[in-house]
Amino acid sequence: MTGNRNPLIDGLLKLHIALCLIFIFAPIAGSFVFSLNSDRFPSLPLGSFSTEWYRLIWEDPLVWAGFFNTLLVGACVAAIATLLGFGGAYTDFRYKFFGKTAYLALALLPPTIPVVIMGLAMLAFLSRVSLSGNVVSVIIAHGVMCSPFAMAIIRLRLSQMDPDLEAAAWNLGGNEWVTMRHVIIPFTKPAIYAALFITMAVSFDEFAVAWFVSGLNETLPVKVLGFLQGQVSPRINAIGSLAFVSSISFIVIAQLLMRNPDTKTP
């Protein structure tokens, strides 16, 4: 690979990468810095170090209520989306049937629908069946939005499995259920855990649909949206920083679980 290399152009291209990364990460890093800053509206030069905003959210009972709602929703959504996603992934892996394309489209399309439209549709429908305005409605909506992610993760793991493995188990006398329990589930276990954590992380950050359907039982991201509508409030940065740290911990745990399977991947 020699080609026509030009150090100047290569340098400029790398500078461009750096600028894009700065643009992407400046708001994220900024939010951390601002959360520890005394100024209500930070600018250059920055104000002094302060944990005031963390103290304010710590003492705000509404933030705590939102946090527990988020946790409850996240745990339920992770379990539901992973169960549904596992079923979908296994169906795609194992079976060919008429209408499979439609099945897969239905399973995977939700993330491409704009959240305002999902929110409106969910609100209109769930309020019709008297399910809106509570935590259950958020769980239902997030279940729809998160199961495609779980399905994709588990499907990826299944595609690494030797298809003969299942057949071998059947030949050895295991029926489908036994094979599922002793072959498929152990093999996909890392992906199942990863799916649990990733769907929880997605649910933790989702605010739009939750805002439409949650009514008074706000989750934390909906609370943040409320702060954003009100006056300037650096509490958003404090909440955001904590949420970021917890989301990243979930991802790292998921990554470690994905990397840990018994078979060594090159």
Binding site: F23, F25, P27, S31, S43, G88, T91, Y95, V115, I117
Partner: protein, 281 residues
């Protein structure tokens, strides 16, 4: 293949199907019905009346918002693709494999940060007395208005879409046959010419899909136009949230939502058709 599905197969395939039918497809279909309902005395009533469609479509405000949203989302798709391409090209062609993997990992991180928090942080950066203008002030420039205008909205769209667009572009560029590039160099095809005539055509499908995602995300986003663009004049998604949150005129919001879905489907089909045209060549 068994012709009759077994209990075993249904146990795994049906829950997802039922869930997505009941809570995804059905609510979307319900929007269609809802758009024909009427509102009397602040109560929605099942009906078959085209009044909502006529009301919304006869308003200049709606069409202004429609074309503005369309224009902004298209501009966002084009500008973000142009901004992303040099970076994706450099990541795919100029970096070592280990660095490339790190880049991909780094670009995934933003998906797990709250978009709202990033937008709020961006407000602090872009406002008249904010970080960026203060910095420019040291250089003797500005202040430039960057918030509550189109620039703010586009900056927000870029925050939302740029990582995804770079990732999708990198994935499609990684599939470009390196021998083709080498062959072009051997035939004394210049650097820029190689990019324009060899690399871009062979990665076209992926590049178009990446732009399509930027379009879809920007078209439906209400946070950036509201909190960075000022929200006035509104985009379609702001209209939906306003109508929905301010009362019982949900049927009208449904009309706006369905118009958005129709537009997105049209754009998506056109883009995919364009992306895979002459693909067999």
């Amino acid at each position: 293949m068994n012709t009759r599905p077994s209990l075993f197969s249904l146990t795994f395939s049906l829950p997802l199907l039922i869930w997505q039918l009941a809570f995804f497809l059905f609510p979307l279909a319900f929007l269609v019905a809802l758009s024909f309902w009427t509102v009397r005395n602040f109560q929605m009533q099942p009906d078959f009346d085209t009044v909502n469609w006529i009301k919304i479509y006869s308003r200049g405000v709606f069409w202004d918002a429609y074309f503005r949203t369309l224009l902004m989302a298209s501009a966002s798709a084009v500008l973000i693709s142009l901004l992303a391409f040099p970076a994706s090209y450099a990541i795919s062609f100029k970096l070592r494999d280990s660095v490339k993997r790190w880049m991909i990992f780094i670009l995934i991180i933003p998906f797990f940060t709250s978009y709202l928090v990033r937008v709020y942080s961006l407000q602090v950066f872009l406002s008249d007395a904010g970080i960026l203008n203060a910095f420019l002030g040291y250089l003797g420039l500005g202040p430039y208005p960057m918030l509550n205008n189109t620039f703010g909205t586009l900056a927000g769209y870029a925050t939302l879409c740029l990582p995804l667009v770079i990732l999708l572009q990198v994935f499609s560029l990684n599939f470009v046959n390196r021998d083709l590039v080498e062959a072009a160099h051997n035939m004394r095809c210049g650097r820029l010419q190689t990019v324009l005539e060899v690399i871009i055509p062979s990665a076209k499908a992926g590049l178009v899909i990446a732009a399509l995602f930027a379009f879809i995300l920007s078209f439906g986003d209400f946070v950036s136009p509201l909190y960075l663009g000022g929200g006035n004049p509104p985009t379609l998604s702001i209209m939906i949230t306003d109508i929905t949150k301010s009362g019982q005129q949900w049927p009208r919001a449904a009309v706006v939502a369905l118009t958005m879905i129709a537009t997105l489907l049209t754009v998506a089909f056109a883009a995919i058709k364009f992306a895979y045209r002459e693909a067999g060549k």
